[in-house]
């Protein structure tokens, strides 16, 4: 498999895995939790390195997963005191965990290959070189990992579609019908954490956060129903993957950054031109609506219409 294809496939799988979850984060107003989780896992990675001297996938994913859960629970606990709002609770917890990670890196692991750049900026460019022997063929280990996560997320969506839908749009209704919104929310957050942590290890934090947030926000501007929202979000993820890789090669710049940029361009286009919610389309529609009132030439037409309507009623 060529390197180009590996990178594009990795990013596309990431876009699928994240695109399945992102819409629910957007609808539940928990978007920034993904950013928090992506930063909060740093101490987990460092801890695994200090304890086992390893950067192998599985221990790192476990260590990072532990801290992702600590982060989510910590935010929830602080918010539950009622003394601190959810946004401030998020902003208290994840920088603290990140700070622990930074201290760990600089004190115990300096000089080894665990620099902040590669964990934060992500090195999706290196995915083709980190390989596993699978079924007799050598393949980039990011592919089976992300494929597994994608399948897992897909299974969760299929199995819990009704529950997710009910608890996202109307928590009270879902509770009355015996679906615990808290439980569904916890399952969703665990899925987000697992996705973020797995992907983080192979492509870097910023790309995960981008893929969780931006395609879903873009799709939110283009769709009204839930199923199309998820589908469009996945499609935007793939567009960012392919377009981002192309432009990164053309510009000779960071692949993760370029993919994020393409996703953001998609969002900007949707924001301006979405048929229903775009600000330009809305301005044009508004202009059309008020123009008959403003221009006298069109006024008789609408009046005539009104008059004929009333005649019909009376006749």
């Amino acid at each position: 498999m060529s390197d180009d294809l590996t990178i594009i496939l990795t990013a596309g799988l990431l876009g699928t895995a994240c695109g399945l979850l992102g819409p629910f984060l957007v609808l539940r107003r928990q978007v920034l939790l993904s950013d928090a989780v992506a930063h909060a896992v740093l101490p987990g990675i460092v801890l695994v390195y200090i304890l086992f001297g390893s950067r192998a996938s599985l221990p790192v994913i476990l260590g990072a997963g532990l801290f992702a859960v600590i982060c989510v629970i910590g935010i929830e606990q602080i918010r539950a005191t009622g003394l601190v709002k959810a946004d401030a609770a998020t902003g208290l917890v994840f920088p603290t965990l990140f700070a622990l990670g930074v201290i760990g890196v600089t004190t115990f692991a300096s000089g080894v290959h665990l620099d902040l750049d590669s964990t934060i900026y992500g090195d999706i460019a290196f995915t083709p070189f980190r390989t596993w022997e699978l079924f007799g063929t050598e393949m980039a280990r990011s592919l089976p990992l992300l494929a597994a996560v994608t399948v897992g997320n897909m299974a969760m969506l299929v199995l819990l579609w009704k529950e997710l839908k009910a608890s996202t749009f109307d928590p009270v209704f879902s509770k009355v019908n015996g679906i615990s919104p808290e439980l569904v929310s916890r399952i969703l957050l665990i899925a987000v954490a697992v996705t973020a942590v797995t992907a983080f290890e192979s492509v870097g934090a910023i790309l995960v956060v981008t893929m969780l947030i931006v395609p879903a926000a873009t799709a939110h501007l283009l769709t009204v129903r839930l199923l199309p929202l998820v589908a469009v979000s996945v499609i935007v993820g793939w567009i960012s993957a392919v377009g981002g890789y192309g432009s990164a090669v053309a510009l000779d710049a960071s692949i993760a950054g370029a993919m994020g940029l393409v996703a953001t361009i998609c969002f900007s286009l949707a924001f301006l031109l979405s048929p229903r919610y775009g600000i330009i389309t809305r301005a044009v529609r508004h202009q059309r609506k008020i123009s008959p009132v403003l221009s006298p030439g069109l006024q008789p037409v609408s009046r005539a219409g009104d008059a004929s309507g009333s005649e019909d009623v009376s006749g």
Partner: protein, 415 residues
Amino acid sequence: MDRLIELIPLSYTDSVVLIGAVILGVAAGVLGAFAVLRQRSLVGDALSHAALPGVCVAFIATGAKDAVTLAVGAAVVGVIAAGLILVIERTGRIRPDAAIGVVLTGFFSLGIVMLTFLGNFNNSSQAGLDTYLFGQAAGLLVSDLTVMGLLCAASLGLVAVAFRPLKVALFDLSFAGSVGLPVRLLELAMTAMLVIAIVIGVRTVGAILMVAMLIVPTVTARQLTSRLSTLLVVAGIAGAVVGSAGSLISTGAGIPTGPVIVLVGFVVAMSAILLAPGRGVVWKAHRVTSERRRALNEGVLIDLETALQSGPPPTVGQLASLSGRPPAGLRRALRNLDRAGVLRRDGDRIALSATGTAAVQTLLDRRELWSAWLENGWRIELPDAGEPDPRDLRASLGDDLTDELLAFSRGGPGE
């Protein structure tokens, strides 16, 4: 500035770091309050990530790497990012959190692309731009301190001058608009102040840790006070304390300053959340348990009185079956009542002592007063709109009103 540094009994670089951390703490504390109280804490996250493309643009435009040029670049791009967040969330479809997320990732991606793109041309000269992300307190210069100090003083002055309109806009934007205040301008001013705080701090603690610096002082101060003016002062002080303590610990232990400051800040904020008088978690838990214990004791006392009225002094078992309370709770209450000296033990039978009889009497009086209030409270004219304290109606109503209330209920149902 040099004289100030000489006053501090530390090495030159450590003093510079200490002063920088204090300025950062004060600025982030006071200016961050305007974001945290509007529930926009994480705007700071987006804006400090937007500093990365900001410094890149500044570097591309001027080729200079001094603090002022880069700070101006970060500030300009920060204001643009803040404006975009406002525009996106104002259109309604995209909620504030998603707007923050999109702007954050978009600007950060742009920054990374610019950084790597720059790296292709001249590998060495752009080096150091990314210290903006992780912060490097040790790299602070005296000239940086002067810039930071001036910015901090200017923005604190702005807060002092525009305190009243800012306060109105902070708590009730539509009211501010209705009394003719320039709402857009005030919103922009609050965001611009956030940008200034970030520009001051991001060099010292880095983009991600800066988020915590904006939040910690306000969260701490909010637990201690409910007035905005006091809150701003307390937040400023808290920021300065966190900054100085963090930088002293870090220079003492030889670990990076930014993370230590954030850890100290987290500890301070959590202690405030747990221990704040009247509001903290521990305080509230204590109040709830003591209220519960009081309610249980009083309930058991009334049960005992009822049993005594209808027959001979009951045993513990009889009292339990009579009151229908769980036996463990009943025994606990009886132990408490024994300790208070209101019970008289007669073998295994329980009766009331002299103090006990008096205590039951006040309790019954209070209950009668409470039902009188529920039934006839609407007839008496309260001096103010506040509800009286249900635990002690007589004290909060005053003797005259209490007697009036009792007269109503003893006079039978009203006409």
